[in-house]
């Protein structure tokens, strides 16, 4: 693999960039692999990458029915944070966040990780208490956050209005090393690194069946033929239920549409990432200048990758109350992604009822920020056959045992 650098760019410029090689090889499936990963999104590619990098397993194929990074990896609002309340969540998201810090160097691909700081606004007394609680937890979890007052919020985010008539800003949980990254680049960077390790990324290859023998996985049937494998990892957000059915088990998951939109680009106005949970909106300004805004999920099963307008309307209306200048901007584009929501809204990294078949799914609306940590933990689980410390709490059995990982602890306002 030719390394990327400013020097390489200058060298290539002299010959009009005719010398750049493919970022990842075009591959045709072999008969058998040690590990087959279904799904070449961020999580699948990261899983493959750490299988190779951490565990020396490089006879790996990553199968993708569409184009790599084309699912939720390429259609989210790119927020990265780890200020979670519960220990298992904080552990895996902080692992992911710390891997994002050095990802550009690790992959030799600039994923534009931008730790510009993230604010979760407290707009009710209940939220103030909730975020103070999170700050206490984060301190013991090794996650660097602090609860800050309204004036500090205004300093960090000058376009905010603190004294909105309905939801004044009472403070915020601030994670200085939270931020954003370029979502496509994360998938492309991992893909390039996987390909460089000799792994086969096979696009336009849909899995149509999972073959097993004696309770153990043997391989998959695909639109490009039969592929054998010793171990199988299913990492297909939005289609997990379909793959699980092929493998003979069911999941505590429902797939719903999540809405997002961007404004037209403007000159830099907001450096931080804002999350306003009371009004179900979150916002950052991309390096291009667009305000990237995420909203809520539709309340029904949906595989259309498009959604309703009502959530866009609610989100925009709410954000304008706290950021009045948005009113004079225009919505450039709205889109939807299909997210897998589990029974406790936390992800599943688990062994499955089928031997040597592992699943990583259910990231809901929080998948992008977890990609490297999720890949790290899933690779460890596949390589060792058992979940390691990062994945241990996220097993499927928790739904039977009643041992949930519930981040939505604000059970409702009550007095």
């Amino acid at each position: 693999m030719k390394r990327y650098s400013t020097f390489a760019i200058a060298r290539e410029a002299l010959r009009h960039h005719t010398g750049w090689e493919r970022a990842w090889r075009k591959a045709t499936p072999k008969k058998k692999y040690d590990v087959v990963i279904v799904g070449a999104g961020g999580h699948g590619l990261a899983t493959a990458y750490y299988l190779g990098k951490n565990h020396g397993i490089r006879n790996v194929a990553i199968l993708e029915k569409g184009w790599l990074g084309g699912g939720n990896t390429g259609r989210n609002t790119t927020i990265i944070r780890s200020n979670y309340l519960q220990d298992p969540s904080a552990a895996i998201y902080e692992k992911a966040r710390s891997l994002y810090e050095t990802m550009s160097q690790d992959l030799n691909y600039n994923v534009m990780f931008s730790p510009r700081g993230l604010l979760m606004l407290a707009q009710t007394h209940h939220e103030v208490r909730g975020y103070e609680r999170t700050a206490h937890a984060n301190a013991l979890q090794g996650v660097d956050t602090q609860f800050i007052g309204p004036q500090k919020v205004k300093e960090l985010c000058p376009i905010i209005r603190l004294d909105g008539p309905r939801y004044p800003v009472l403070g915020a949980l601030y994670q200085a090393r939270g931020g954003t990254a370029r979502h496509d680049a994360v998938a492309w960077g991992y893909a390039r690194a996987c390909s460089d390790m000799g792994m086969d990324i096979i696009q336009q290859c849909e899995v149509t069946g999972v073959r097993s023998d004696g309770g153990k996985v043997r391989g998959v049937s695909t639109t490009l033929g039969e592929i054998d494998c010793d171990k199988l990892g299913i990492v297909v957000a939005g289609h997990s239920g379909v793959l699980a059915e092929m493998a003979g088990f069911r999941l505590p998951i429902e797939s719903v549409a999540l809405q997002a939109l961007v404004s037209e680009p403007i000159k830099p106005a907001m450096d931080v990432v804002i999350m306003a949970n009371t009004v179900h909106g979150y916002m950052s300004q991309s390096d291009k200048g667009e305000m990237v805004i995420g909203g809520g999920t539709d309340g029904y099963n949906n595989y259309t990758q498009r959604g309703s307008f009502q959530h866009i309307e609610e989100t925009v209306r709410s954000l304008i109350e706290t950021f009045p200048m948005l009113s004079r901007l225009k919505m450039l584009r709205q889109w939807g992604g299909i997210v897998d929501v589990t029974g406790d809204r936390s992800p599943i990294l688990s062994k499955t009822p089928l031997g040597n078949c592992f699943i990583n799914c259910g990231w809901g609306t929080g998948g992008f920020k977890a990609i490297p940590g999720s890949g790290w933990a899933t690779a460890e689980m596949i390589a060792q056959g058992e979940p390691g410390p990062l994945a241990a709490a996220f097993g499927l059995e928790r739904f039977r045992e009643g041992r949930f990982i519930d981040e939505s602890v604000a059970a409702g306002v009550a007095h």
């Binding site: 990327y4 493919r22 404004s263 498009r306």
Partner: protein, 1005 residues
């Protein structure tokens, strides 16, 4: 130089001068101008800078597809960035400035990027700035961010000076687009009697037909258009709207319309934009077509425009782009521009036609006018940088060897036309590649489908790939007729207008000019003018394996600018497919997303802003609180008094005063927000036994019982006092936030699981004001009002009684959330304020003190009463809170019972409720954690408990807290370390959660 012609301008009125400013310069236009046409008339061709290389940019189009001519418009509360000059109607006093340059449009430091473009190819940032790591965050990224972005950010402290509104409409047939196809489709559909709504994004009917010419029914097209509009206006079942764009098509026939009411006349009163939310049975998309640029070197130089735009400016506004315009084309339509320019006395030095044999009838016309046609030729390169000075001509089939140079000051280019398929595609309509006409058009076999599975969008005219006037009208007639039929109406008249327009020779696909252009030329051939994506960038993407159209788009940013690729998508796709050696349809298309062109966020928010953003729920006593120094707390949609702050008091002092006054003598609380749900019927007891963890069916009439409700998953969801009103009626109190939720919960189980139960529920929360009279002197106050026996004997603790108190019809509940002698009095809402005022006045002798939520919280914490939302958070079960007494062992079933039997919930090692007292008397921090020794495998510190409620108790004059601690009740007296946010810890002792009056002597009097 661009200028105003001596005559012409179909849409303008030269007798009316309009003054405006651009970049501080005073200019004049005429009524009917767009900002773009007025700027051109003033010789201002350059209107902005491109995104990446900051190259000079003039308009390339004349309508909604314009990528370049974007301006900052207006000032102060009416400032708006990124307005398209081509669709901005000129008005007196308009002020605009150009974007994305520093210090000025003419001299832009960022313009250096164009000289660096060689080292800034597609995706350069993925390959650069990797080392050293800190430089990205501190140097590179800030630089990239500052040089990116387009328009200026609106001022943060300025509130939008305009208003917006929403509008709902229902129609049988919705026609989007008011060109000849839309008009004809609407007329046909309307003849059936169907309700028809016709929307046109521009200020004029007829689309581009009046510019292109032709005859319909023996009349000039423009006459037919005005006749048809008149006919439609006369029909009662037709509604027409100009300046209203079909912005998005959503599932089940939902359409967003975006009406710009005052953008063209800002002084007009009323809302600026109106967002139409339309439900249509059938939608006709008569959205026309957009011309494509040609990809040749220098096609981005100001003065190179779409051929149709050059024609539009001349015909519509009487404005010429240049004196000598070279036309370059691969199809016949561009000849209309040459002929038009010639007719207006302008020079066309040559028409460069890439086709070996040139065109058809239109070419003959042009040649007859003496215009030179160069066949099989191409533009090798446009000369000039800030403006066009000439074009170098080469063979289309070659590599760009220059045959001739033609001096000129404008270029009119046409790469063919693409149907506008956006609205067809928004909701899932698929496209098919038309190889003959070289465009994607709607695949009628794969239309978007509605709730019934049937298609609900019908494309018409040019939007359906019918570019010839006659075919357009025929298709529109069919579309209007089909739409009416599908909506259940039979069209009466399907009279087909007879159209006359020139026949056109076949187009030739030209995706690169010349065909074998060298890399140097390809690096100057623009695909996306705003985002600076060139042919060479797409080719680089393909070379590097970004082969999917989505990869290539995202790698190069093609089509992601504010025009969303209206001009660039097809050219980019074709370039990619050529690079991959695959057919265009095999490479696919990208997804079209709403809105068609950007719509204001203000219009999305609509009227619901400021005070009416969300409704505020007020108790019947709200006005009294307002008048008495209330310090409000939002609680859900309610406003509740947090405390009443007297002059000279801090909030904390007011709270402590309220607690002390209540404990010492008498306090009054507005408890009206507490949920009140009547549950009635023969099976009401059985139902409540399933709903609550404890037994409610055995509660005697006249008595109250505290109840807990769990979800089926076992977690506590609400609590409250239940009173039995009669043999078959119970009144369930819920938490403030819980009334609607719990009522819905009851209905859900009744309707979907136990539908055989004979039970009815009614949420009567707002029917009553509820006032808590609390404190040692509470009984005296009630006795003073008189009329009811509220003695200990007649009305003991946990009973209720109905009667007339001081003339008010009331129910009095002898319940307490403070540990004091306490009566909660419910009175019809309309009499709440009167009763409260009376209690307050008559209680003066006992210093009756209104108190708020914080005093309420402190008093309940002093007594160790749990609060839903504090002690519970959706992960807590009743067993954790020492509430096992409220869990019936006798009942075979209730919601949550099975869940509580799961292994994690029966685990003895759970965190359980205790009281906590710091050793030093200080107040524990909210959410503080009790640390334990060591760390887990993820290097997180072990914990063994957490604080759930914490206050300074004015009664006990020390910090008190409640918390959940591992096996807490078995560890009384143990001292734990609790975290503080400054990183230190504080020691606290595990104690009973009942800090005050543990024997309950104060409330049982």
């Amino acid at each position: 130089m661009s200028t105003r012609l001596a005559t012409g301008g179909r849409l303008t009125d030269r007798s009316k001068q309009v003054k405006f400013q651009f970049n501080g310069q005073h200019m004049r236009g005429v009524a009917g101008d767009t900002l773009a046409s007025a700027l051109l008339a003033n010789g201002q061709l350059m209107m902005g800078r491109s995104f990446k290389y900051h190259r000079p940019r003039g308009p390339v189009a004349s309508g909604a597809e314009e990528p370049n001519a974007l301006v900052n418009l207006g000032k102060g509360a009416r400032f708006e960035p990124n307005q398209r000059a081509t669709t901005t109607e000129l008005f007196d006093g308009l002020t605009a400035s150009s974007q994305n340059h520093w210090p000025s449009l003419q001299f832009d430091i960022g313009g250096i990027n164009t000289h660096l473009s060689r080292v800034l190819p597609a995706g350069f940032y993925y390959k650069m700035f990797i080392h050293p790591r800190p430089l990205w965050k501190h140097v590179y990224e800030p630089f990239i961010r500052r040089s990116a972005g387009l328009g200026a950010a609106p001022d943060a402290e300025t509130v939008d000076g305009d208003t917006y509104e929403h509008f709902y409409a229902f129609t049988d047939v919705l026609v989007l687009g008011g060109g000849v196809a839309g008009l004809q489709a609407a007329l046909t559909a309307a003849s059936s009697g169907a309700q028809v709504l016709l929307l046109e994004q521009n200020a004029h009917w007829g689309g581009r037909t009046p510019v292109d010419g032709g005859e319909i029914d023996g009349k000039p097209a423009a006459v037919w258009i005005s006749d048809t509009v008149q006919a439609l206006e006369a029909m009662e079942n037709v509604t027409l709207r100009l300046r209203t764009m079909g912005a998005g098509v959503y599932d089940h026939g939902y359409v967003l319309g975006y009406e710009r009411l005052t953008d063209h006349a800002p002084e007009t009163p009323g809302p600026r934009h109106r967002l139409w939310r339309i439900r249509a049975q059938q939608i006709v998309t008569a959205t026309g077509a957009i011309e494509r640029p040609l990809s040749f070197a220098g096609n981005d130089v100001p003065g190179v425009l779409l051929a149709s735009a050059v024609r539009d400016y001349v015909v519509n506004y009487g404005v010429s782009i240049g004196d000598r315009t070279v036309v370059v084309t691969n199809n016949d339509d561009a000849y209309r521009t040459a002929i038009c320019l010639h007719e207006h006395g302008l020079t066309v030095p040559a028409i460069i036609d890439a086709r070996q044999n040139g065109g058809g009838a239109l070419m003959a016309q042009a040649e007859a006018l003496g215009i030179k046609v160069l066949k099989g030729r191409a533009i090798a390169k446009v000369k000039g940088s800030r403006k066009v000075t000439g074009v170098a001509i080469c063979a289309q089939a070659g590599e760009g060897g220059v045959l001739d140079v033609i001096p000129c000051d404008a270029v009119a280019m046409s790469g063919g036309w693409s149907p506008v398929v956006h609205l067809w595609s928004h909701c899932g309509g698929k496209l098919t590649w038309d190889d003959t006409n070289v465009f994607f058009r709607p695949d009628l076999a794969k239309a978007p489908t509605s709730h019934d599975g049937a298609p609900f969008v019908i494309p018409a005219g040019a939007a359906n790939g019918h570019m010839h006037l006659g075919a357009t009208l025929t298709d529109a007639t069919t579309a209007g007729s089909s739409a009416a039929s599908a909506a259940g109406h039979q069209p009466r008249s399907t009279v087909l207008p007879k159209a006359v327009a020139e026949a056109e020779a076949a187009i030739m696909a030209v995706w690169l000019m010349p065909q074998g252009a060298t890399v140097a030329l390809r690096s100057k051939a623009w695909l996306d003018f705003q985002n600076d994506v060139k042919v060479s960038d797409i080719q680089l993407a393909a070379q590097e394996g970004y082969e999917s159209v989505e990869h290539a788009k995202r790698y190069t940013t093609l089509g992601m600018a504010t025009d969303q690729g209206k001009l660039s998508n097809i050219n980019g796709l074709a370039t990619l497919s050529a690079a991959l050696g695959e057919a265009i349809p095999a490479v696919g298309t990208t997804t079209f997303r709403p809105p068609y062109t950007p719509i204001s966020m203000g219009s999305i928010a609509g009227q619901a802003r400021g005070e009416i953003f969300q409704p505020v729920r007020q108790t019947p006593l709200h006005s009294w609180h307002e008048a008495h120094d209330v310090n409000w707390e939002p609680v859900g949609q309610w406003r509740r008094p947090y405390s009443f702050v007297r002059a000279g008091e801090t909030v904390e002092q007011s709270v402590h005063r309220e607690v002390t006054a209540t404990r010492d003598s008498l306090g009054l609380l507005d408890a009206s927000t507490l949920g009140k749900i009547i549950v009635k019927g023969p099976d009401a007891g059985k139902f409540l036994d399933m709903l609550y963890t404890n037994m409610m069916s055995t509660l005697p009439v006249g008595k109250c019982r505290y109840g807990l409700m769990c979800t089926e998953n076992g977690f506590l969801m609400d609590d409250g006092v239940v009173a039995r009103m009669s043999d078959d009626t119970w009144l369930c109190h819920t938490t403030t936030g819980g009334a609607e939720r719990i009522h819905a919960h009851m209905e859900e189980w009744l309707q979907t699981e136990w539908w055989d139960y004979k039970v009815w529920c009614a949420n009567v929360t707002e029917h009553y004001a509820q006032i808590a009279v609390v404190g040692p002197n509470a009984r005296k106050l009630l006795e003073k009002l008189g009329g009811m026996d509220v003695s200990r004997e007649t009305l003991p603790f946990m009973q209720w009684v109905e009667g007339t108190l001081g003339g008010f019809p009331v129910r009095i509940f002898r319940i307490s959330f403070s540990g004091e002698l306490s009566y909660e009095i419910a009175v019809p809402a309309s009499q709440g304020l009167a009763l409260w005022s009376r209690l307050h006045a008559d209680g003066a002798e006992w210093n009756a003190t209104p108190y708020g939520t914080e005093a309420l919280h402190i008093m309940r914490a002093e007594k160790g009463f749990i609060m839903i939302g504090d002690e519970t958070d959706g992960t807590v079960i009743p067993q954790d809170l020492g509430l096992s007494l409220a869990i019936s062992k006798k009942k075979a079933d209730y919601l949550g019972k099975r869940a509580h039997a799961r292994s994690h919930m029966t685990d003895p090692a759970r965190w359980q409720l205790v009281g906590l007292e710091t050793v030093d008397g200080s107040v524990l921090q909210d959410g503080a954690l009790a640390v334990a020794a060591g760390k887990n495998l993820n290097q997180q510190r072990h914990t063994q408990g957490r604080v759930t409620s914490t206050y300074h108790s004015p009664t006990l004059n020390k910090g008190i807290a409640m918390g959940l601690v591992l096996n807490g009740p078995d560890r009384m007296g143990e001292v734990l370390d609790f975290t503080k946010l400054d990183g230190t810890t504080v020691k606290a002792t595990i104690v009973s959660p009942v800090f005050f009056d543990p024997e309950g002597e104060k409330q049982n009097v």
